[in-house]
């Protein structure tokens, strides 16, 4: 006796499709689970335990929120959060400003555009460790190029010892980051600029709008999606900044330029405090994840949906 499957009705068919869909995405979901969810869960688990690789005699007891409490009551951690925020605000603002100017200029240029664009992207292509080292050498005391120039230009006879001064050390640090990542912002914005319909400028001109008016009323609003994307990427990157600081100042003098990522690295990999370091990592993860989610929401609501409509 043969079993004939009944002709599926519309709802049943859809359910089957859905089930098939789940099966097909299962490998992808499993992969994400394995490489993202599991490590994050593990970090969370570590963060509520005392786990000091150098002190096995303490065991690995459950300590609840103790690691989080320690972090929040440690001045060095709070300062690191402050340094990270300052670094993020300063560098991203400068990068967006300079990137926009660069993009507008590039957009005007007709001849040799390809070559120029490649040239502009060069700093972005240099590995951060290399560029950071070069910047460090330039600001090195007493024989760095920068100090030589300052003296030669007659601006000062006693140039600062950049990396031994809690305030001055920020300048080379921010400069190195801005130099390196402005091209990225410029290229994203340039793509945005090229997506703007030329005819809008023509009609604006007909309506008597000057260059500035055209910029504020046509360019900027239409460039918003690109600006958001550039800003989001840069903020997330700047918030996790590690390499440029590690190479240039090592977080010093003292801990005056130490961002969260470097403090976490020191706790986790140098002091080998896995529990405490994991608590730090987890907090950074929550911050950035929440930030990214909020930005995506905002971005999607504001622009992507507009486009789809």
């Amino acid at each position: 006796m043969s079993v004939r499957r009944p002709q599926p009705d519309a709802a049943g068919w859809r359910a089957e499709e859905a089930r098939l869909g789940w099966w097909l995405t299962l490998p992808a979901i499993a992969t994400i689970g394995l490489v993202a969810v599991v490590p994050i869960a593990w970090t969370l688990w570590e963060s509520v335990h005392l786990h000091d690789l150098r002190m096995p005699w303490l065991g690995r007891p459950f300590v609840g929120p103790a690691n989080y409490i320690e972090a929040l009551t440690t001045a060095r951690f709070r300062e690191a959060v402050g340094h990270t925020l300052i670094f993020t605000v300063v560098t991203v603002t400068l990068e967006l400003g300079a990137g926009l100017a660069l993009a507008l200029a590039l957009n005007r240029i007709v001849r040799a555009r390809g070559v120029l664009r490649t040239a502009v992207l060069l700093p972005w292509a240099v590995p951060t460790v290399v560029s950071a080292l070069v910047w460090r050498f330039m600001f090195e005391s007493p024989a760095g190029v920068v100090n030589g120039l300052l003296v030669a230009a007659g601006l000062t006879t006693a140039p600062p010892t950049w990396f031994a001064d809690a305030t001055a050390a920020w300048l080379p640090l921010c400069l190195a980051d801005v130099w390196k990542t402005t091209p990225f912002v410029a290229v994203v914005l340039l793509a945005g600029l090229q997506g703007i319909d030329r005819s809008l400028y023509e009609s604006a001109q007909v309506d008597g709008a000057g260059a500035w008016r055209q910029f504020t009323d046509v360019t900027l609003p239409l460039l918003k999606p690109a600006l958001f994307v550039a800003c989001l990427f840069r903020v997330l990157d700047a918030f996790r900044v590690f390499d440029v600081v590690y190479v240039m100042t090592g977080g010093g003098p003292g801990t005056a330029t130490e961002p969260i990522a470097l403090y976490t690295f020191t706790s986790l990999l140098q002091n080998l405090r896995f529990g405490y370091g994991s608590a730090l990592s987890f907090m950074v993860f929550v911050f950035t994840f929440a930030g990214a989610l909020a930005c995506l929401r905002w971005l999607a609501g504001d622009t992507l949906l507009d486009r789809a409509r």
Partner: protein, 424 residues
């Protein structure tokens, strides 16, 4: 770069750790030795290991090169030992790691092997004890010392004040841009320089009972002297706050400084480098004392220890014993200027020929050497101190406030890991 290298090493370690235990067990007389293996040091150790194998048929020793940077080597060791890997059997460790590894149970108590501890410098033996047991033996000794220019002055300064005066005079009248240079970057070297100034004023980091006393009057005086040397009297350039050993050596080697604080390794380089401008025009002396203290040298150097999970500790000890032999130490002294850890050797003419520095000068400095705090959490204590010292020297904090804060944090750390002395 560092991170990449770290990952690379991790991969290598995982691969090697997977393969080697198997071979180790198959033949009990295969040993692995982990330590420095760059340049001339690599040649020497290869040659010595070959001689050892020739003298001990049936024993094979493999050399496992490890990163030269102390931090990276330390990380690697911790990963191996924490995973209870049975190899490397013999480890070259830094003197400040011994208590840490001993307390963790990662290296063997050497007392059962009956080492002749009285043949070594007492300070170096003390630094290798934990809970009264010996866990490592000193291989060679590093001590901080004062290099001074014989063409600018007739004798080494008697105390820190005289050093300041002579440095200022040299800077003002002898056309030397810097008076005195030392390692001032925020790293372990800064702690050793501070320790020497601290000893000069009669202070300590931890007292004999293990209490934190770094914020005592002597501590504040020592740190204030260091800061004022930079900011008030200006005979130490602020650039030292970013310098480690090599930058300091280059400044002195270029003839830019009247005094330098450095380790013994610099001597041969200053004397032999073709671009050295001070060859034949400098000498070494112990770091000077100040009021209330004694001239102090920070004790450094490398030790040899046995992995607690080694499959063949007896043969491993045989290797250590061989490497600590006078002939081997003499070879290291002759080729790389390392100071032997056996005081008796300083009476031999052979060592006089081998060492570039006068052996009496060297011995005088070694006998004044003080170890850094002997505690399993030394690295963390040091990190707290490094930050505090650097903050004070870069004028972010007053010396007393910086040291008080550091002392509180250090005490809290000792409490947390249950190493604080009872009753404090």
């Amino acid at each position: 770069m560092n991170r990449r290298r770290h990952v690379w090493w991790l991969g290598l370690v995982t691969a090697v750790a997977g393969v080697l235990p198997a071979c180790g067990r198959a033949d009990p007389h295969v040993l692995t030795f982990a330590g420095s293996a760059v340049g001339r040091e690599a040649e020497i150790i290869r040659r010595q290991l070959e001689r050892f194998q020739a003298a001990n048929p049936g024993v094979t020793v493999e050399l496992r090169p490890t990163p030269d940077a102390a931090d990276q080597r330390h990380q690697l060791y911790v990963q191996w030992l924490n995973a209870r890997a049975p190899d490397p059997d013999v480890l070259q460790i830094d003197v400040v790691w011994t208590p840490e590894f001993a307390a963790a149970g990662w290296i063997l108590n050497l007392d059962p092997f009956g080492p002749a501890t009285e043949e070594f410098f007492p300070a170096a033996i003390d630094a290798n004890r934990w809970n009264r047991s010996l866990y490592a033996l000193p291989w060679f000794i590093d001590v901080g010392m004062l290099y001074w220019r014989t063409d600018l002055m007739s004798e080494a300064p008697r105390d820190l004040e005289a050093l300041g005066r002579q440095a200022i005079r040299a800077r003002d009248h002898a056309g030397v841009p810097y008076g005195f240079v030392w390692q001032g970057a925020r790293y372990e070297g800064l702690v050793t320089v501070f320790l020497e100034h601290l000893g000069a004023y009669g202070g300590q980091i931890l007292d004999a009972d293990g209490r934190v006393v770094v914020d005592s009057g002597a501590g504040v005086k020592a740190l204030t002297y260091m800061r004022d040397a930079i900011d008030v009297d200006r005979f130490v350039p602020p650039a030292v706050l970013t310098w480690q050993e090599e930058q300091v050596r280059f400044a002195f080697q270029d003839g830019q400084a009247a005094f330098m604080r450095n380790w013994p390794y610099a001597y041969a380089l200053l004397e032999e480098s073709p671009d050295s401008r001070v060859a034949g025009r400098f000498a070494v002396a112990p770091m000077p004392a100040a009021e209330g203290g004694v001239g102090t040298a920070a004790l450094g150097g490398s030790e040899l220890a046995i992995n607690a999970y080694s499959g063949d500790p007896a043969t491993a000890y045989l290797l250590i014993d061989y490497l600590l032999g006078e002939e081997q130490m003499l070879e290291r002294a002759r080729l790389i200027g390392q100071y032997p850890s056996r005081p008796a050797m300083f009476d031999t003419p052979a060592l006089a020929d081998a060492l570039p520095v006068r052996r009496d000068d060297a011995r005088r400095v070694i006998e004044r050497a003080v170890p850094r705090p002997v505690t399993p959490v030394y690295s963390q204590l040091s990190e707290i101190l490094q930050v505090a010292l650097h903050r004070a020297l870069t004028q972010q904090q007053e010396p007393d406030a910086a040291l008080r804060e550091a002392a509180t944090a250090m005490q809290a750390l000792l409490q947390r890991v249950r190493l604080a002395p009872s009753g404090s």
